[in-house]
């Protein structure tokens, strides 16, 4: 099969590149003059962050397949389907590899300083990520059958009964297997990092390749069994996520009731409607709340662990920048084509609407930082105010930046 590429908008490419550059700049300033031991600890932190990433993101990266009818026409074999899906994720793995390379070798004393040890840790981290990726991919690719059974009432009777009796479950029943898988991958990944660190400390030599190797085995060995019938897993899992993400009859409809228009009472009337529609769309399409929660948990872990001020500042900066993904996602055609947006309201109104969409995560951030301030003497009121200001400023800048790339460019082209 010839390469079948997902089409990416200029906004996607620009924002991915922009985010990646920021991460790289941050890492290079952080690690150019730190000890070997700190360097390896940072690698472990990244492994933890990426565990959260792969635990949540895989179904969103892979499904639903946007070239489905073309794929049916081309009808690739099971092996070609595997290659196609992996090829579409190569930039993710490549980006992670670059980050690991920089953390391992960007050194004021020269990249060759303690080269053997650096190579060992770099390869261990890479093995860990490849292992985690395989394990997560294996788990998610075969989830369709189980998920559909939950979604359509074949399974999950007790959970459904609990929901009906208590009314306490906002999550669609079909998402239960996905959530279980997220939890399993998250726990397995985190335990693997801890296990690797424990082994290395205990034996006084780098044994961090062992968990990566075990994860790789756990991903690849079962995969060899399903390889020949991969098409069945691919089509069924895609069918489930297609219905789950896009069908008006599936889970999305329930979410719509979770966000009544009145819930955005805090937004000025002028921008309330577009802020509301943006929030509804975002929350139906992406699990951003879960990512933000994971981000706060990780922040608390950093403080609990007594990480250096540089690491905490760097992490907070990245975390705040990550919040702005809200605005990027809103400037893609699935959320509203440029022509539609442009006719709906003016460019300045879009900037303010997106700013308010972004501001909805401000209160959780303040609460989280207040918790940190209460328990840590290193985080003062001044720090809280500074980070609040940075958050608001970055929200405004990214609203302007992405609106410029999207509606403003449309205006320049057609008006």
């Amino acid at each position: 099969m010839y390469p079948l590429r997902k089409t990416k908008s200029a906004t996607t490419i620009a924002s991915s590149f922009f985010s990646f550059i920021i991460v790289i700049i941050y890492i290079t300033t952080l690690i150019h003059n730190i000890s070997l031991q700190d360097r390896f600890i940072i690698l472990r932190y990244w492994e933890l962050i990426l565990t959260g990433f792969f635990a949540v993101i895989h179904p969103y990266l892979l499904f639903p397949e946007e070239n489905m009818s073309l794929l049916q026409a081309l009808n690739p074999s099971p092996n070609e389907l595997i290659r196609y899906q992996l090829r579409n994720q190569r930039y993710t793995i490549l980006g992670i590899t670059v980050i690991f390379l920089i953390i391992s070798f960007w050194d004021l004393h020269g990249w060759q300083h303690s080269i053997l040890l650096k190579v060992q840790y770099f390869l261990s981290s890479l093995l860990f990520i490849v292992g985690l990726f395989s394990y997560s991919y294996r788990k998610y690719i075969s989830i369709g059958n189980e998920s559909q059974a939950y979604q359509e009432g074949i399974k999950g009777e007790r959970i459904r009964k609990f929901r009906d009796e208590t009314g306490q479950m906002a999550v669609p029943i079909g998402a239960i297997p996905t959530m279980q898988t997220t939890i399993v991958i998250g726990i397995v990944g985190m335990l693997a990092v801890v296990f690797g660190a424990y082994l290395s400390n205990r034996l006084q030599m780098n044994m961090e390749w062992i968990p990566g190797f075990l994860l790789l085995a756990a991903g690849i060995l079962p995969f060899s069994k399903i390889r020949k019938v991969f098409d069945h897993f691919f089509y069924q899992t895609n069918a489930f996520y297609k219905e789950y993400f896009t069908s008006p009859f599936s889970g999305g409809l329930q979410h719509a009731n979770d966000y009544p228009y009145e819930s955005v009472y805090w937004v000025p009337v002028k921008w309330r409607a577009s802020t509301w529609s943006g929030i509804v769309q975002l929350d139906r399409a992406y699990p951003l709340g879960r990512f933000i929660l994971l981000g706060h948990l990780f922040l608390w872990i950093l403080f609990y662990h007594g990480s250096s001020q540089l690491i905490i500042n760097g992490y907070l900066l990245l975390f705040i920048i990550f919040h702005n993904i809200n605005i990027y996602l809103l400037t893609t055609s699935v959320m509203g084509k440029q022509s539609w947006n442009y006719r709906l309201q003016s460019i300045s109104n879009w900037i303010w609407s997106r700013f308010f969409i972004q501001i909805r995560w401000f209160l959780p951030l303040i609460l989280s930082l207040t918790v940190v301030m209460i328990f840590s003497s290193r985080f003062t009121t001044y720090s809280l105010l500074s980070w609040s200001a940075i958050y608001i400023l970055s929200s405004l800048i990214s609203s302007i930046f992405f609106t410029y790339l999207y509606e403003f460019r449309y205006q320049q082209t057609y008006d």
């Binding site: 489905m68 026409a73 369709g144 069918a239």
Partner: protein
């Protein structure tokens, strides 16, 4: 190997056995539906919007999986082995989602090469098919510049170029002008006569009469269905 499977699948009926489908915990869109689509026949799925035609089309093309029941193509369970089934199938989905930066000719070449069906004659075959479908000289323009009618013709060509045994078409005549509609109709009648199995969905029963032998009216009612045929 593909051609061997294709040969094996020719003359196979498509048999639905107690197929049901619902979305989440909503009402069943299709309930315990059993039916046999035969070769050398054309069946139209007729009904209002949202009555389940596209759902059945998606299930038949393996883009959706039934809640229960199974569909057999000869001895093949199509949802267990979608790749093998799709070797024998051409699909025209309702919405065009074709690559924007290829021409129609390049797209068809890609499909033939991908399915290992490209040979010295293929270039002429592509042009002949596009001639029959009345896709004019703009076949050499990129698809992103096509009108809705041209997109539909390209979709039909995509489905037919591999000479499938089964053709699944969702609203195949939508967007076509009168001449193109007649030409496509003739093409499909020929497909049926050559052992083809055609299933199409449409809102307009009257215009399908020269082509279709059977009609399934949606929403489905198993008892009425038997009487219709």
């Amino acid at each position: 190997m593909n051609s061997a499977i294709n040969k094996l699948m020719t003359d196979c009926n498509l048999k639905l056995i107690e197929v049901s489908k619902r979305y989440q915990m909503g009402p069943y869109v299709i309930s315990d539906f059993s039916y046999e689509f035969e070769t050398r026949s054309a069946t139209a799925l007729i009904g209002p919007n949202g009555s389940g035609k596209t759902t059945l089309m998606r299930i038949l093309s393996t883009a959706a999986y039934p809640t229960s029941g199974k569909i057999m193509f000869g001895s093949l369970n199509i949802h267990e082995h979608p790749h093998q089934f799709l070797v024998s199938v051409g699909v025209v989905p309702d919405e065009p989602d074709l690559p924007q930066y290829l021409t129609a000719i390049e797209l068809l070449e890609w499909i033939l090469r991908s399915r290992n069906k490209w040979n010295g004659q293929s270039g002429d075959d592509i042009n002949n098919l596009l001639d029959v479908l009345m896709l004019d000289e703009r076949r050499n323009n990129v698809i992103g510049t096509y009108s809705s009618g041209m997109l539909k013709k390209t979709q039909i060509a995509v489905a037919l170029i591999t000479e499938p045994a089964v053709l699944l078409m969702d609203e195949p005549f939508r967007g076509l002008d009168e001449d193109s509609r007649t030409a496509t109709m003739d093409l499909l009648i020929r497909f049926k006569k050559n052992n083809g199995l055609l299933i199409l969905s449409s809102h307009m029963k009257t215009s399908l009469e020269p082509l279709c032998d059977n009609y399934i009216t949606f929403p489905l009612n198993q008892n009425e269905l038997t009487a219709n045929n």
